[in-house]
Symmetry: C2
Subunit: 331 residues, 2 copies
């Protein structure tokens, strides 16, 4: 059957097309997409600047929630009506329907908000892994991060707060700083500070009450990353997951030799690939996140819902700098 799909190619950047669904195999499910976000990495894929690029033309989107509408004869873990999210990126979520291998999706209970389900698979997963896999963080420890208002940043704040970990959240100065600070504190941020404040000597006062961070999370690069490093505990780690400033990460040699800081990177796509034969790893991560969502401790970022037909407007908005609300395509 023909389904409406938002494809992109070399000549025409993106257009809505009808594409033929592949026949349902015995271990496949047919799903109806419910909601799929437009993430910055999706834009980079379309622009050809991302680290992995699909063969073109390709269906855009790497995240979203779908509902099972048909199951192959040998499918065991899923039934009609189940909500599912995909385990692996690159399957294309900006479409009305898809046929997917049972192994490539996992089910979610549909007792969480649709927008939370649609956005749980990338940013909250990134945040949880970075908080779990690099330093052994205990309640009372602290984490410093820049880009604190990003999707990952907000998930870090909420997951850390749920674990009793302090967050020192660095944001660029802006006219509505007091409003932003209140909003981030409302979701669990311990401190919200402007980048300039981080450079001032009186920032040391903060560390009279809050332990120096064991972990720094960097989504910006450039000077912002170097500033995070300056406040890290001896032996601590800085993990880079993004480079919004388009500047490299610059590290004083003395920080490496004498402070033993560890400079690492994290990419959820690689993590998923590395764990593609370990279904339980992804399942247990998603279960932990859904449990936080259910308890009200992890909320979806501010979203604007846009019908799939209005994809041009959604893509245009998503490409603006300083976009504050995530664009979510609703099918």
């Amino acid at each position: 059957s023909l389904v409406s799909s938002l494809r992109y190619g070399v000549f025409l950047v993106a257009r809505l097309e009808d594409v033929e669904l592949r026949p349902l195999g015995v271990k496949d499910v047919r799903v109806k997409m419910l909601a799929a976000p437009i993430n910055p990495s999706d834009i980079n894929m379309i622009q050809g600047t991302y680290a992995i690029l699909p063969d073109l033309p390709a269906v855009g989107g790497n995240e979203g929630v779908a509902q099972v509408v048909e199951v192959g004869h040998q499918v065991k873990s899923l039934k009609i009506g189940d909500w599912v999210i995909q385990r692996d990126p690159g399957l294309g979520t900006w479409r009305t329907e898809a046929v997917l291998a049972e192994d490539h999706v996992i089910s979610l209970l549909n007792d969480i908000p649709l927008l939370s389900a649609a956005t749980v698979g990338v940013n909250p997963c990134t945040a949880l892994r970075m908080l779990s896999d690099f330093e052994d963080l205990q309640p009372g420890d602290s984490v410093i991060q820049n880009a604190a208002n990003s999707g990952v940043g907000q998930a870090v704040i909420q997951i850390a707060a749920a674990k009793g970990i302090n967050t020192i959240n660095v944001v660029r100065d802006r006219p509505e700083f007091p409003h932003l600070s209140d909003r981030l504190k409302g979701i669990g941020a311990t401190y919200v500070i402007k980048e300039e404040a981080l450079r001032r000597p009186d920032i040391e006062d903060l560390f009279k009450t809050c332990p120096k961070p064991k972990l720094a999370l960097n989504g910006v690069g450039g000077k912002s990353a170097t500033e995070l490093l300056r406040h890290l505990q001896t032996g601590g780690s800085m993990v880079t997951y993004g480079g919004m400033s388009k500047q490299p990460v610059t590290i004083p040699v003395s920080a490496l030799i004498f402070k033993d800081v560890k400079v690492r990177g994290f990419w959820i796509t690689q993590w998923k690939k590395d764990h593609s034969h370990d279904a339980r790893a992804f399942r247990s991560m998603v279960d932990e996140l859904c449990s936080l969502i259910r308890q009200g401790k992890l909320t979806a970022p501010a979203c604007t819902e846009v019908g799939l037909q209005d994809y041009r407007k959604a893509l245009d908005t998503a490409m603006q700098p300083f976009t504050s609300a995530k664009q979510i395509l609703i099918m």
Copy 2:
């Protein structure tokens, strides 16, 4: 008794003074220093630019070999005539005699060359630890390093060669490059290349026969470090132990996120401090190095022997840039 010691203080940078030895305790040994090198970090300590600085005035030098001339009643591991090296830095080796706690030294068999014994405790230890503690290197694997002609660099070449590990050695261009290249290949270097050659596209030809390095060792910083990173295997580590260029280490965000490179630092002084309650760790490292020395697989770097009285000349020479021979004070 009064012994001749090369002390340094705030007003007079360095002078030879007679200092009172502390009385021999029951768990102490009195040693006669035989030979002690002038390392770059010793100069930095005198200049006050090192990460750890002793109370002044202090006796200079952090490495060297001594001979036991008197033992306290409860000393068990040492006897008169034994060669010893110190386990911990900061005891001051530029002196004719010293009283040291038994716990602070370990004995060496005196069947290795004096200059090898005098220089085994810092650079070869640094090289061995960096080759052992960051990546699991197997015979046939490769390591890339800059500052390949430094004391650490030469030890890396020799220890790696003894383990069957390929080394790609990067040096600054210089008129005597062919001579230097031959000399480094003579001690086991697999490849010796100029920094400019590392930036040229045809360097990729090298990796048709030699696997991409799992480990990069950086004693320079700046662009040189960034170039090493470019050739690292996905998931590999770069370990910084020095910053001769006085430039920070700059890392593209994509190398961290998509190539999963791990950027670390190493400082042998910290390693010794961290292992100060584990005598076997230092002992087994020194035994491994002495065994390589005995087999002719690890030689001392080019040294100039200078009498302690001629310390001014030795310090002046050690402070020159591009010093090729290590200055060793002979007592």
